[in-house]
Amino acid sequence: MIARDRNPYLPYPVRIEEIITETGDHSLKTFKLVFLDPADEARFAFLPGQFAEISVAGKGEIPIGIASSPTEKGYLLFTVQKMGVVTSHLHSMRPGDRLGLRGPLGNWYPWERMEGRNVVIIGGGCAFSTLRSSIVYMTDPSRRPKFKRLTAVYGARCLSLLLYSDRLDEWKGEKSGIDMHVTVDAMQESEPRTPRWQCHVGFVPAVVKEKIKDPTDAIVILCGPPAMLKFTLPVLKEAGFADGQIYLSLENRMKCGIGMCGRCNVGGKLVCKDGPVFSLAELGELPRET
């Protein structure tokens, strides 16, 4: 959260340290950002699930989920899809260029509730970023004992669109501390890379149905495109997960990110300030307008 006495519109200056092109179609890049003033890093204390407004001077701001974990020190990661004015410009920038960063903003996945429980992580497409943050956070040796069984299902349309390939190799390893299931909608004939590990072929809901069967003492956090949510939620409910056990991360158009400009509301809740993370039980009490 931003300190109350700080001007919440004033970004911290940051430098692009590294740019990683994540996907074969170049539509997704991960930006590794470093604070110009190292003291700002402590002011930016966050938990996985939160987001920040990335500021490109002269172009504007965009709300992007934080992809790195608080356990990764010295830098922040943001995975950005090339889509509008600001993101397109961002994709043309180079290491060394300066950006602004406002945050951390919004709430986070329910870490207090997740401690001591089984955690299921379900993600699809480019929405996997805050879930990457969560998995790195939970599998960090200092924090892994706080959680029981960790299971993840992550899907993309094809192999070349999977994010974080270096981390996937690690999470698929035997000592990763997480049971990781990766799936692609279809296997292309000319995949640029062949994973060393087994990859499912099929949609996320089908893999969830096969692998996520035990709702006992479990919390599910999920983030993905609307179609994935639409077909995955019934599968979870059928498996016996209650609405209060399922947490989703929403997105909406935002400007201020601090609950003032008004546009990101769903009913009386603001996605930027009351969210982006809501339990399915909370969403059930809100008007359907996403």
């Binding site: 004033l10 001077a57 602004g100 601090i258 609950g259 009913g267 009386g268 009490e285 008007p287």
Partner: protein
């Protein structure tokens, strides 16, 4: 508590005294309408006005405001680093503001001054502002009362209330800011029980014994029907069938939001001239599709009905539920007056308020 009396002709000169210590904003005639303008030698205040077309909201929350500045010149060591636009916040007095417009600032403040974050520009400008209100029973037919507007003598949002008595004005300070402003205005000590007499007459205004006039509206503006809204469950109200009918004539012109003293939505845009950039905040409107359009093309409120519904639900339900300080409306009637297709918040409030009842009546 300081009170002062001014003969009718002595009031404008007393207000002019404020210009020594404040930027003074007063109602002035602009064509067919009135507007608040800074009192310099080119304007003439008109304290007999009834309502400005655009509310004085912008004196604290400007329609367009530079927030941050930056340079994009890479030779500048500070290039691409945003910093606060230098500005000062001199004391300003809004003289002749009506009680509904003053109450609007109280409605707005919960959005800009929150337990978690505070908008620095709103706070500093609001702190620098003294509201000197004009109290006269001249509500027009578009006006109404809400929890946030108890009528033309509602002093809750004011620092000074000035009663228009016809032959003169009686001013009463309400708090420290008001004391300071009245001290600066000078004026005469009123007769010993002048204030008590005025307040008693206002209290009696509901009874027929007082003739209609500056202290008694005839007829008094009605209450906005919102009494049952608090208990209405939000989802059925949201899904009510009447929204399509309410929204059908709407042209998406946005005038209801532009003229509303309690609307606070804004947009933030960057502008660069040569290599000097500004980050600017502009009023925005929930009536426009672009307001919620995602970069992906998805729009959660792409349809007109969704936007009209959100506006009324925000004003009359979400705000009420969230802050527990009444509805987000001060009854000024500007939206009623200006809407080109006669969408009337009083009718919409009645439909929302009566929503459950209607169902019951049909059942019988």
């Amino acid at each position: 508590m300081r009170t002062r009396y001014y003969e009718r002709d002595a009031f404008p000169p007393a207000v002019a005294e404020l210009r020594r210590a404040y930027r003074v904003f007063v109602p002035v005639r602009r064509g067919d309408f009135h507007a608040f303008a800074e009192w310099d030698d080119s304007v003439r205040p008109d304290f007999d006005y009834r309502k400005t077309r655009v509310p004085p909201k912008g004196l604290v929350f400007p329609q367009s405001e530079r927030l941050l500045v930056f340079s994009t010149d890479e030779r500048d060591p500070e290039h691409d680093i945003l910093r606060e636009a230098p500005k000062d916040f001199p004391p300003q007095a809004v003289v002749g503001i009506r009680p509904y417009d003053a109450m609007a600032f109280r409605v707005l403040e919960v959005n800009f001054d929150t337990p978690e974050v505070r908008d620095p520009w709103w706070l500093r400008r609001r702190e620098a502002t003294t509201l000197i209100g004009l109290a006269r029973a001249d509500e027009d037919a578009t006006m109404f009362r809400t929890e946030n507007y108890a009528g033309p003598f509602d002093e809750r949002g004011l620092d000074v209330i000035v009663y228009d008595l016809g032959r003169g004005y009686l001013a009463k300070a309400l708090g420290e800011k008001g004391e300071a402003a009245l001290a600066a205005m000078g004026g005469d000590e009123p007769a010993a029980d002048a204030l008590r007499e005025v307040e008693e007459r206002i209290a009696r205004a509901a009874t027929p014994e007082l003739p209609a006039g500056r202290l008694r509206a005839q007829p008094a503006a009605p209450e906005l029907p919102t009494g049952r809204l608090r208990a209405q469950p939000v989802v059925p109200l949201f899904e009510a069938e009447f929204w399509d009918e309410v929204a059908a004539p709407c042209l998406n012109c946005g005038v209801c939001t532009f003229l509303c003293p309690t609307c606070w939505c804004f947009d933030i845009q960057d502008e660069v001239r040569k290599q000097e950039g500004d980050r600017i905040r502009n009023w925005d409107s929930c009536m426009f599709p672009l307001y919620t359009l995602h970069a992906s093309g998805h729009n959660p409120r792409g349809k007109k009905t969704q936007r009209v519904r959100n506006r009324f639900m925000h004003k009359l339900k979400y705000y009420l539920d969230k802050y527990d300080r009444g509805v987000m409306c001060v009854g000024c009637g500007r939206c009623v007056e200006a809407c080109p297709v006669n969408i009337d918040i009083r009718e919409v409030a009645a439909r929302m308020n009566g929503f459950g009842e209607q169902v019951e009546r049909h059942d019988r």
